[in-house]
Amino acid sequence: MSAAATTSEATRFGSGQAVRRVEDPALVQGRGRFTDDVTLPGQAWLAFVRSDRAHARLRSVDVSGAKAMPGVLAVFTGGDLVAAGVKPMALPAGFKRPDGRDASAPPKQPLAHDVVRFVGEPVVAVVADSREAARAAVAAVWVDYDDLPAVTSLADALAPGAPQLWPGAPGNVLAEASYGDVAKTEAAFAAAAVRVAVEIDNQRLAASPMEPRSVLAYVEDGRLTMRLSSQMPTGVRTGLVASIPGRTVENTRVLVGDVGGGFGMKTGLYAEDVVVGWAALATGRPVKWQADRLEEFTAAVHGRDTTSRAEMALDASGKVLAMRVRSWANVGACPGAVSVAIPLVIGPWVLPSIYHVPLLQLRATAVLTNRVATGAYRGAGRPESIYIVERLMDAAAREMKLDPAELRRRNMVRPEQMPYTNAMAQVYDSGEFEKIMDQALALADWSGFAARRAEAMARGRLRGRGIATFLEWTGGLALEEDVRVDVTAEGFVELTSATMAMGQGIATSYVQLACDIFGVPPERIRVLQGDTDRANGFGSAGSRSLFTGGGAVHVASVRCIDESKKLAGEALEAPPVDIEYRAGRFNVVGTDLGIGLFELAARQPGARIVVSGTAKASGPSWPNACHVCEVEVDPATGDVQVVAHASVNDIGRIVSPVIVRGQVEGGAVQGIGQALCERVSYDAATGQLLSASFMDYALPRVDGFRGFKTAFDESVPCRTNVLGAKGVGELGTIGATPAVVNAVIDALDSAGLGREAERVQMPLTAEVVWRALRRDFASVLPATA
């Protein structure tokens, strides 16, 4: 290849270019390698017997019938695992109860041992020669339950005399966190010219990546290998080692191939992972478990499920004086640390959002119920907080009869205040929020709304407009990442990273960043992820991968060229300072003496050049955006249609323009899903999950809104990482939900409801909106509020 051709090809694929993703040719031809696509010789199948009770004591578990079924290799109960020394999984640590005691939650046994606490909890595992044999044997297991009283709703769990889930959590209160100064906040509210309050049910959601979880475990020479679908291979290994006796980081390997979507749901160790790993060790056979969708709905972590009463105090000019929030998170029966950290720590960090909020008081309680645990889902705490503050802003604007954009403008943190420390002690490095909003107002034709509303009215439709201006915290507190670069004699630059692809296109972005430095064609660059034998780290969550891992790709690539110049100097018998690198070739300056990058690699010991690089961000990034949504409501049916949605997004420097647009718009559809149709629903009387299939849980379909106007402003780079990039993963989801709901409330307001319209709760289905138009609202707060 000629140097000139190489350079131009690489430049076309460099950062900032709209490129075709490197992941796609395989995926569009069905040549992906998802966990369930791999089958091993002698592979057995595992199937679970799951609790059909919300809360019950296990009186007896009879597996004799199942063991006698044809093809059955082994049957494991919770008792078998306990006897074998398999330990429970990690519990929430570091949290306090309101009485000052440490938070205490039920032990998370991989298979229920004495008590089942949610419908879908694994009770027995059957291993058989085939999927069909395993499933048939599941039906032959007889579990005798003593039913215990169950509570699935927050209000029921907090009611006096409620059934108690765990002795260590009296009143079902698992943990609580309080922030801010109660007296000062009270005084600010007392003196305020304007006070508004809203009650919010941020309903439980199912992440629903299209690929269900899947695990394939096998043992070779005493080493346990787990192939599964996860965003955090190293975290899964850590959990396995802690749970399964005899496992160490040396004799345990986690492999991840293609991941069919994660959205936070595939971030931690699951009970099923432990059981499948144990079954492979116990039977000596490769063992596969493939979740069906029912298992995903009942037993994979859910998102959100936080109920709040939120208040805002403002002076007569519309300046926020204080915010006060009381919230309760329904974290389910068997929560982990993340279940509690999301509502008690991570969400609160962004509660002041982009506004200067002098006083903020929050009390947040994590409550145990007989639901499956909550976990990370698309924003994990940030959507809940931003939804609260954006609803309050609209309530205050309505109360003061101010343009909602104008009220936001009066309260935004100004660029000259950066770096800015918010009321939750979080430091924003950058952000020009008013500039972003003004662009969004122009993109959405904010000032032309009255004419559109009038035109809709003439058609018998109520048109509403909603805005959300906001930021989010990214990075997952894991701000350092290593990347190893191998230049091989075969002609490849290999980038090895512990971050994890899950559909977000991170491999393409890494290739683009490496193209910038190496100047070789993209086909010469390979990204290796998903193998704990190669790389370990936090993994991919919290929109961190580009600004940490991508930073490390950049640093390691630059280092690789620098180190290679020394090797080239030796090979060319010239001092490194006289060596220049361009597009895959080292040259001695001013001569035609040179050597190719890959040829140089071939001359090294092991026929490769190996260089590692580390990037450490000095803080999280704070991506921010303004979303403006318009909806039309049919007053006869309550049906809501999103008819316009514009957003301007500040994600700092953009590496992959096509990918980030896809992230924002795809994320926005998930946010619209929460606003309009999605809701996990448990039956209060029986604790059964009612939304247990895609027939009952309404995922957005293709007939929803697709006409996004999406723009980016790159003029405010992040100051805390080497790339200047801000995480993009959740902006669309976080912004769309409040923008859509504010628009629907605006439409209801226009029908004469005024501030009463603010009592409407998500999801804004036709029934909910139809009832709202008749002033029929559900109450959401627990009676103790």
Partner: protein, 160 residues
Amino acid sequence: MPMLQFKLNGAPVSADVETPTLLVHLLRDQLGLTGTHIGCDTAQCGCCTVMVDGAAVKSCNQLALQVAGREVTTVEGLAAADGRLHPVQEAFVACHGLQCGYCTPGMVMSAAALLRHNPRPSEGEIVEALEGNLCRCTGYVNIVAAVQQAARALREGAPR
């Protein structure tokens, strides 16, 4: 065990099939064609969509024996023999019509089936044809754009 004979991606296939075997399990487990995915158990998600005699069919919702004597095309059989992508596959790549790629084979097959019998679909007809396919990543924006682009390419004579 009944012997099943049918045409798969252009070639005749014979397989011994247990009567209750679903078409998707025959394809994935017995014939090793893992491009056809399973995303639910209620025939809602469409990840398993294949073409049977040119029509989009959810292969989780058919017994394998139902395709006896018929012609089945999976995502593996869509590209040209020389490896060139089918215009629908090409358009999904060009339009960023996929992120994680798990729903993609089903989406591609539904779209290809649509364009076989309707080379000039309206946006509404595309939406109707993809109503049985769920995608959680893309918000469908670029999927519909990809099908429109593929339709144009096919009309302009791109090899199918």
